[in-house]
Point group: C2
Chain length 220, copies 2
Amino acid sequence: MPPETTEPASMAHRLAAAIGAACTTSRLAPGESLFRQGDPARAIFAVLSGRVSLLRHTSAGHRVLLHNARPGDLLAEAALFAEAYHCDAIAATAAELRVIPTPALRDALRRDPALAMGLAGTLAHQVQALRGRLALRDLRPARERVLAALALLAGPEQGVARLPGTLMDFAAEIGLTHEALYRTLAALEQAGRIARTETGTIRLIQSGRASPRRPSPQGL
Amino acid sequence: MPPETTEPASMAHRLAAAIGAACTTSRLAPGESLFRQGDPARAIFAVLSGRVSLLRHTSAGHRVLLHNARPGDLLAEAALFAEAYHCDAIAATAAELRVIPTPALRDALRRDPALAMGLAGTLAHQVQALRGRLALRDLRPARERVLAALALLAGPEQGVARLPGTLMDFAAEIGLTHEALYRTLAALEQAGRIARTETGTIRLIQSGRASPRRPSPQGL
DNA sequence: CGAGTGATTGACTTAGATCAATGACCGTGG
DNA sequence: CCACGGTCATTGATCTAAGTCAATCACTCG
């Protein structure tokens, strides 16, 4: 399969379609910057291929990764409602983006309430997802967090989690070092809670129903 | 001052105003539930006073705190775009809410594109803020995280951070135990990086400019 | 005044970060 | 075609930041 190409999520499609001609495409080399914190916010973007990182520098001079946009993601949606970008966008890999100028998009949204509602819906889902990811970080120890994250990936049917990226990416996503993740996965596998067949795929195994009363299966 | 009352943030206002009569008010006793995961999504809410917790149960039966809505916050915005609520809402304290029925609101949004855009803007800002909070969790050790969080609270002018709630709340917000936070604050104060006058207020002190080249001021 | 909550500090323990090494797997260029 | 350099996956050893348990004090509220 081609490494990193996906059709844009419907919202990116709809936005681009709505403004039609005013919408251009941009190609970035790895490391190239799309915009910088403080630049006037002239456009939002839809990632077509590659990955684009959003970074903010703190006052202390640190560089913090805010987001890693993948194909299908919308980028800098907040630019629609702000004067300037609030963070840097740098291509993590070679990337292709659709450029959606804010003035044209604002017009389109004003003209088409359904489009505006669609955008609001997309954003509302992002808020939900982000809250979920934030809550995930509170789970401890690592075992719980990993299981919860896998369950999320697998969906409510409780079957097989297919990791979107590498294990290292997954580790970063859930706030663990990759070593900690490897170890936790190994322990879970040993405990029979998960099974790994092909790489990138993890099957969750019901732990014989988590009965409330029963401290521990065997030993301590 | 009255303990927990604030005028609703403008967006909550605007939404409520837009649908006018269809909008009622609801009062919750502490512990009372507003809706449950899976209930049909009939309304979104604006918190007028008190605090309302959003909880999700994981498949493993754990209860995870997703959000703690405070006066001025909008609650369950995603209900506008979904069939059912995706989490429980329980009053953490006695609370008063404005109830905004989704059908009426959907109509209003369709009729008034500016309102829809306003909602999208609010949500976009929430996305931004949540990404920031998520990134904050990656800062380590605790000292860095606390300083960054305080800087955020103080705003770009780099002056005084006024904590919205208790220190315990703040600790939970940034993913530390309250003990760890107290110790970190004490250490920072000792190190002269912060000063505490009244409770709930922390002044940040520039550490003689963090010059790029200079490993450490003294010792080590 | 006693109960409940927040703030604070001490002592102890540990989960997970850090540092380090190894093997598998590519893609790539000579 | 193969050797080399890079990334990912994995595991071991070690260390420490921060969690847990515990006690105390100040404060507010019936």
